[in-house]
């Protein structure tokens, strides 16, 4: 029974990580940018949703939607006006996103203070199946995450926008020769990814916690997942997210402490050094 419970926790963690990692890897695959601000957008999503519920009195689903739009808009503006100028300089873009992360975190801290917010998921209780107790909030988050992953898949593989984005990720020069415009598509890709981070933040922070520091572990987990899956690979990121979720769930149930994280990080170190293309082993983008 413990095994089943851990599996379900792992899958639900995996779905959250997948949303974060897909956005992160999308940005790297298409723009070649390592987004150090990814955890910041997650945190910001949480705060926007919290503000909508606590100060404006909006229903939670609407608050989540606004959080997605707000984080996507910020991502769009940031890419268009700042990142775009230096998009091919890897270290410069990395520093820019790092700078943005510090600004977002400090902004949240000045507006809301350093302490955790009292932000609760609106649905309580749990589903009883035999001796299993599955909290409704986790099931709802799992459902929304899976739906978002499905929607992202549809956008990327069934629309012209998605085809354009994937073409730019594959080979920018050829894609541009075919008439695709990076200046138009890059901000959209960035906004799509930061919107996903905002969505995850809005959904998950009411269950876990909401404070200005919550972005740090999110960034570390996104790194882990994305490197494990191969930087820039969408399928790899999705697969790796569930591996990371399950390893975390099982190690916390059976071993406790941070052994699980340690094992994952060492694994990631070895993968980075000996197989930078990740689990699925497809070359995505040169360093």
């Amino acid at each position: 029974m413990q095994f089943l419970q851990a599996t379900i926790i792992g899958v639900s963690l995996g779905a959250q990580y997948a949303l974060l990692a897909l956005g992160f890897t999308l940005i790297f695959g298409i723009l070649g940018v390592v987004n150090f601000a990814h955890g910041g957008f997650y945190m910001l999503g949480g705060y926007v949703a919290y503000s909508c519920v606590a100060y404006v009195g909006l229903p939670f689903p609407l608050a989540v939607l606004i959080a997605v739009l707000a984080t996507a808009a910020l991502g769009w503006v940031f890419e268009l006006f700042l990142l775009e100028r230096l998009v091919d300089d890897h270290l410069a873009t990395l520093m820019l996103t790092l700078g943005l992360y510090l600004v977002i975190t400090t902004g949240a801290m000045s507006a809301f203070g350093p302490l955790s917010m009292d932000f609760r998921f609106p649905v309580g209780g749990s589903l009883h199946v035999g001796t299993l107790y599955l909290p409704w909030q986790n099931l709802i988050v799992l459902g929304v995450c899976l739906a978002a992953i499905g929607a992202l898949w549809l956008v990327l593989f069934r629309t012209d926008l998605g085809r354009g984005l994937r073409a730019l990720a594959d080979d920018r020069a050829v894609a541009m020769a075919q008439g695709l415009r990076p200046k138009l598509l890059f901000p959209m890709a960035f906004a799509l990814a930061t919107g996903l981070a905002g969505l995850t933040g809005a959904l998950v922070t009411p269950i876990l916690s909401l404070s200005p520091g919550v972005g740090d572990p999110v960034l570390a987990t996104s790194f882990l997942t994305v490197i494990l899956g191969g930087l820039g690979s969408l399928e790899g990121a999705a697969l790796a997210a569930f591996v990371v979720g399950l390893v975390e769930a099982f190690s916390s149930v059976y071993f406790g402490g941070s052994i699980g994280a340690l094992v994952l990080f060492v694994l990631v170190l070895l993968i980075l050094v000996f197989r930078p293309t990740g689990l699925l082993g497809r070359t995505v983008r040169g360093a």
């Binding site: 790297f28 070649g32 390592v34 700042l82 100028r85 230096l86 890897h90 270290l91 410069a92 990395l94 520093m95 820019l96 790092l98 700078g99 943005l100 992360y101 510090l102 600004v103 975190t105 400090t106 902004g107 801290m109 000045s110 350093p114 740090d216 570390a220 790194f223 882990l224 490197i227 930087l231 402490g257 941070s258 052994i259 994280a261 340690l262 990080f265 060492v266 990631v268 170190l269 980075l272 050094v273 930078p276 360093a287």
Partner: protein
């Protein structure tokens, strides 16, 4: 392969002189606040120099907290065994991280650009977790406290004044090491910074210089760890959080990466600015963020670059 350059230039000399002024501070003030700011600055300068050495080869490293922890814990563990002599501990705090960096470097120096950044980030996360998971050696989440103060000959560096002097001495030592190494290997480092592939194809044994730079950078970070542990008299995992790498990178980038004056100026100004926020030191991070964005967008040379450009304009106008 390359002409042997002068081992010390103006920037190095100015850095050492500015730092040496720290020895005279206790003659003028006993203010705990001044001592604390200066201690932070001395530690920050050393850590920023460790970042700077790697930046000379266009490698942005997040690993400095990991090597700081190695240096710091070496001193803490030695202190538990009543070894406090600086003549033993200074070399140990430098050599243990430097030697550890050899096998680590063999693995991570194969990577460049973004991948190097990621791998060093992962490295410092691993070390942070290891500190928690090895309570037998490192005291785990309790850390190691009650470390005896440093001794040198018959002096004991226990009082505030002496801790400051010791931190000052370590910062000068680190600056001399950093200065000599980056001067001596200026050409190969610059060749790697400009274009590593080209340098290699022209016959430069690139891995040798990268490994050497990584080793010295690790050793220098170890000295920063020593200074930090000596100031706090405890070694705790939270003192070496991987996030603190961001501060040292900020010091270096904002100060400017062209000369050794960059890390010094960046650290000095940012540590001072952080203390202006008083008890709200965490807000300083926002200032770092804005400054990093500004430097990357409009002043690639950082503060030292700006000063240089300004001087050049003034000189040109006079001529």
């Amino acid at each position: 392969m390359h002409n042997k350059p002068a081992l010390f230039g103006w920037p190095e000399l100015i850095s050492v002189l500015v730092l040496a002024a720290g020895f005279f501070v206790p003659m003028y003030t006993r203010s705990v606040l001044v001592y604390s700011i200066l201690n932070q600055a001395f530690i920050g300068v050393i850590a920023a120099q460790s970042v700077w050495i790697m930046l000379r080869m266009n490698l942005l490293s997040f690993a400095s907290p990991a090597f700081m922890a190695m240096g710091g814990y070496t001193v803490a563990i030695a202190g538990q065994h009543d070894i406090t002599n600086a003549l033993i501990l200074v070399p140990a705090a430098f050599l243990i991280p430097a030697l550890t960096s050899i096998p680590l470097g063999a693995m991570v120096l194969r990577l460049r650009g973004t991948y190097f950044v990621l791998v060093t980030f992962v490295l410092s996360q691993i070390l942070q977790l290891l500190l928690f998971e090895t309570p037998g050696l490192t005291g785990g989440s309790n850390g190691i406290s009650g470390i005896p103060p440093v001794t040198l000959f018959d002096m004991e560096f226990g009082s505030n004044k002496m801790v400051l002097k010791f931190a000052c001495g370590l910062a000068i030592l680190a600056t001399i090491i950093t200065g000599v190494v980056t001067r001596w290997f200026r050409q190969p480092f610059a060749a790697i910074e400009e274009n590593e592939v080209l340098a290699e194809s022209l016959g430069l044994v690139v891995w040798r210089y990268k490994a050497l730079g990584f080793m010295v950078s690790a050793g220098v970070a170890g000295l920063a760890g020593y200074s930090l542990v000596n100031m706090l008299l405890t070694a705790h995992p939270t003192s070496f959080e991987s996030g603190s790498a961001v501060d040292f990178i900020a010091y270096t980038i904002i100060g400017g990466r062209a000369t050794i004056l960059g890390p010094l100026l960046g650290t000095g100004i940012l540590v001072y600015a952080t203390n202006l926020f008083g008890t709200h030191g965490q807000y300083a991070q926002g200032l770092y963020g804005v400054l990093i964005i500004l430097v990357v967008l409009v002043a690639r040379g950082g503060l030292t670059g700006l000063v240089q450009a300004l001087l050049r304009t003034v000189i040109r106008r006079k001529a």
